[in-house]
Amino acid sequence: MAPVTLKKLVKSYGNVDVVHGIDLEVKDREFIALVGPSGCGKSTTLRMIAGLEDISGGVVEIGGKPVNDLPPRARNISMVFQSYALYPHMTVRENMGFSLKIGKIAQAEIDTRVNEAAAILDLDKYMDRRPSQLSGGQRQRVAMGRAIVRKPDVFLFDEPLSNLDAKLRTQVRTEIKRLHARVQATMIYVTHDQVEAMTLSDRIVIMRDGHIEQVGTPEEVFKRPATRFVAGFIGSPPMNLNEATVDNGKLVFAGGQTLPLPAEFRSKVAAGDKVIFGLRPDDIYPTGHGISSGEATDVHEMELPVSITEPLGNETLLFITMAEREWVSRMLNPRPIGAGEVVKFSFDLSQAHLFSPETGKTLRG
């Protein structure tokens, strides 16, 4: 039973800081995802928690005790690597039992625990094979099995799904979620894929350039992104973000096109302010082909030409040009639309976001 706490955690290589003093509290049994683009420091942070990377500054606590100077083996953690890192010269059984063997646990106990894990992960048939004789998905499961067998306080996952094909990835994702429900341990999961982060975790930590941009539940980071970066990173296709100037209850975009200033922000900005206006594709839809997510009190309609369509079956993405920029709209329950057709769009401004162009922070306050 172990919460994990990071206090002012710093990692630097020479003079270059890659993690800039981050603070984070992971509650016991919580599933937390560290997400961000490559080079944001998420893997480095995970490796510092694991003890594979020296800590340049700050404290890592596991179960309330600082572990900065403990070697990985003394932290009672398990880690699933992106490359799986299975021992190629051992069978699946030996791979899974390795940590127990090193820990000098009795063979009978090892067998029970390995078989238990094998049953959970449906690996019984492959126990005497070598990793080279397994498919990618099976290797992935063995790697998870090896992690389970240790009964660790904390599970660490380092992009465990990125070597799997799309179909398998969804499948294993569900398995990881089931695993979390079953073993009830703290899990820290690093990924660059926001969908994985959203679907798996209790809370998401969005990182950029060695800083934490926002920590929140999937719903919070989606609905109330704290920064422009989070707004653009979470959600697919990404949020439409465009510069505008506030003028007399209106937002004026490049080329003079305007939208009403969303009610929520009227007291937050003054005339002449420059802002970044953000609206998700879900909240721009051809009238009658969307679901307004709020109370739809603030819907603004506008006729615009469609430049490109991307039909996905259950929905169609429409690319529209407004204010000299391309905006994406999501059309639910789609009807065929040709390029160049002028369509009436609903802009659900109750879902709009405004960010400061200088700090990138939300103006919601």
């Binding site: 694991a50 003890g51 594979l52 070697p71 990985p72 083996r73 953690i77 398990s78 880690m79 690597f81 490359s83 799986y84 890192a85 299975l86 021992y87 190629p88 010269h89 390795f98 940590s99 090193i102 820990g103 070598r130 990793p131 080279s132 004789q133 397994l134 990618g136 290797r139 090896r146 240790r150 070597n163």
Partner: protein, 288 residues
Amino acid sequence: MDKNSSHRLKRRWLKVAHFIGLFLAMLVICLPGLWIVLSSLRPTVEIMAKPPVWIPRDISLDAYRAMFGGAGQGGIPVWEYFRNSLIISITSTIIALIIGMAGGYAFARYKFKGKSGVFLGFMLTRAVPGIALSLPLFMIFARVGIIDTHFAMILIYVALNVPFTIWLIDGFFRQVPKDLAEAAQIDGCTRWQAFWQVEFPLAGPGIASAGIFAFLTSWNEYALASQITRSVNSKTLPVGLLDYTSEFTIDWRGMCALAVVMIIPALTLTFIIQKHLVSGLTFGAVKG
């Protein structure tokens, strides 16, 4: 003739040409060896005959009998030479492997100042012909008083082999993914255990091949050994070969017999270990 059968014919011809080519290549490689074995079994008259006698007429094991009986011409102490060769080669190989493993691992896994410089230095030592060092070595060893000892030869061969074993073993450790040692550490190993439990077994085939190379270098080396070894105390087999030449005659048959005796252990060793050399053990460790 339709296209299909003309292609089939062409392929058959290519196959035949392929076999002939391979046969010729193998002939060039194997004939000298065969000739040595053959010559060790025939009388000198036949060996020296002009034109050469291709098909042996008179075959006997006299040379071997004489050699191991210690009663051959001049009574050459083959057993002693054999013992010297074994002691020197095996000891120097083991030491070179230990140093090579430590060095190779350091080069493969750690960053340190002057790494590439040191590495280049090692490679450069390979460029110096051993014989160029024989005179200074002789003088120094004579002063120190270790001429004609096993110790001197072991020292030389370790120095000769270490750069090469480091280079070779470095390459093999590089092929073992770093993740594996990290996974082992998380699984409860110390750094030291992670090395012996995971990295060493995986680099094993590579280390074995480095060992073979080191052994063969020591086993076959002649130039330096001929300077530093003086007597039955430390003379190795290649140097011992020279015992078959005297002022006016050369005992070709005896020499060839000894050459065969030298080749056999090297060949056997390579044969035993070659199975391990070609095992693709690291496959499947990471995505593949």
